[in-house]
């Protein structure tokens, strides 16, 4: 192949991977895993947590930002750069906190893509109806375990992606 051709092809490919600015509230197991994976993919990541010790989960090589503060406060969210964020993930321990943070991101800061982790299946469904994008880890977890038990197929690996084995 012509060297220029491959070069062009590479440039096009690189352009296709859009770099996202992501704000994550909650640096627990889910938040930290998500932050590490996104940062590893080259996205610009900022994680918010009230407890500075939570950031230890990110290890020493994490190249994103860390903000100590309450993810429900406008001032904290602004410090985390929410005004320029493309995506927002709410993964704190409480469903209501996540729902409020998500709606704050959507309604006040106009973030385009906002995803909320919810434990309670009913709440997840109600808010999804209201236009808040929710992922119910309870329903998904139960579904995966069900399928593994009955069909003998572990679909968890496919869902987990690169971070699944850690």
């Amino acid at each position: 192949m012509h060297p220029l051709g491959t070069c062009h092809c590479g440039a096009r490919k690189a352009r296709r991977i859009q770099i996202m600015r992501v704000v994550i509230v909650g640096c627990g197991r889910v938040g930290s895993l998500l932050a590490l994976r996104l940062a590893g993919e080259g996205h610009t990541v900022c994680v918010i947590d009230e407890k500075p010790s939570s950031f230890e989960r990110l290890g020493d090589d994490f190249n994103g930002e860390m903000v100590v503060g309450n993810g429900l406060e406008g001032a904290t969210l602004r410090r985390a750069g929410i005004e320029k964020a493309d995506c927002f993930a709410a993964v704190m321990p409480g469903d209501n906190r996540n729902l409020m943070a998500a709606q704050l991101a959507r309604e006040i800061f106009k973030v385009k893509r906002v995803i909320t982790r919810i434990y309670d299946p009913i709440r997840a469904a109600v808010y999804r109806e209201m236009g808040v994008e929710t992922i119910c880890s309870t329903v998904i977890g139960a579904g995966l375990i069900h399928d593994y038990l009955i069909d003998g197929v572990n679909r968890g690996d496919a869902v987990a992606g690169a971070g699944g084995r850690t």
Partner: protein, 225 residues
């Protein structure tokens, strides 16, 4: 019979605010259900409030809310100390149970805007109310005693007019406040006077002004000039 004239009110959160609110509403003849998560606290509440129906449960759980008779509630009040819990309880009440009026206690004043945007009918910020009162006290001018009540993005300012105010001698109809702000009441010799168009403002009058555009200081400047 009672239910026709006064709405059934569900108060979520049996802390200090919820408890005193429930007691006040019961005294005024409302039918009230007070929802409290903590069993021990709920026991104490039922000792204090007697006739009031106290229910132990999560005010943000759909299944639990369905057992409170919420479908016939006229008002749901989110009165817990956590803004996110009040928000979710009120949103569920509104969206899933079609409760006509939801009132949420807002602890962080910055959330008032969000709550309004999300369809909560009345976000009440105690912090803002206190700030308004303290601000009025601090200004301490004799000519203009102001009591400002800030809530829901509007300010209620109580101003005692100085004798030299340009408003003295004018008819209410000729008082033009910016942004459609209104004189909602005149207090004359300690008695309220309905501010009809022909009422002439007199020295010593106290005006209660409802403003959505100005802060206390600006309203004060306006009427003192």
């Amino acid at each position: 019979m009672n239910q026709r004239t006064t709405p059934y009110v569900i108060v979520i959160g049996g802390g200090k605010v919820g408890y005193h609110l429930a007691r006040h509403l019961l005294d005024r003849g409302y039918e009230v259900t007070l929802v409290e998560k903590d069993r021990v606290r709920a026991q104490w509440l039922s000792h204090q409030l007697g006739s009031c129906s106290i229910m132990v449960g999560d005010g943000d759980e759909m299944a639990f809310l369905a057992t409170t008779g919420i479908e016939r509630a006229g008002v749901v009040v989110g009165a817990t100390g956590d803004d996110e819990d009040n928000l979710v309880a009120c949103q569920l009440a509104k969206r899933k149970f079609s409760v006509p009026r939801t009132i949420a206690r807002v602890n962080d004043p910055e959330n008032v805007r969000l709550f309004k945007a999300l369809g909560i009918d009345v976000p009440v910020s105690a912090t803002e109310l206190l700030m308004g009162l303290i601000e009025a006290e601090l200004s301490g001018s004799d000519a203009v005693k102001g009591v400002a009540v800030k809530a829901c993005g509007a300010t209620l300012v109580d101003v005692a007019l100085p004798e030299l105010s340009s408003l003295v001698g004018r008819r209410v109809a000729d008082v033009h406040l910016p942004g459609g702000d209104l004189v909602v009441c005149i207090v004359r010799d300690g008695l309220p006077v309905v501010p009809q168009a022909d009422v002439v403002i007199q020295p010593g009058d106290e005006l209660i002004i409802y403003s959505t555009t100005l802060d206390v200081e600006s309203v004060r400047e306006l009427v003192t000039n």
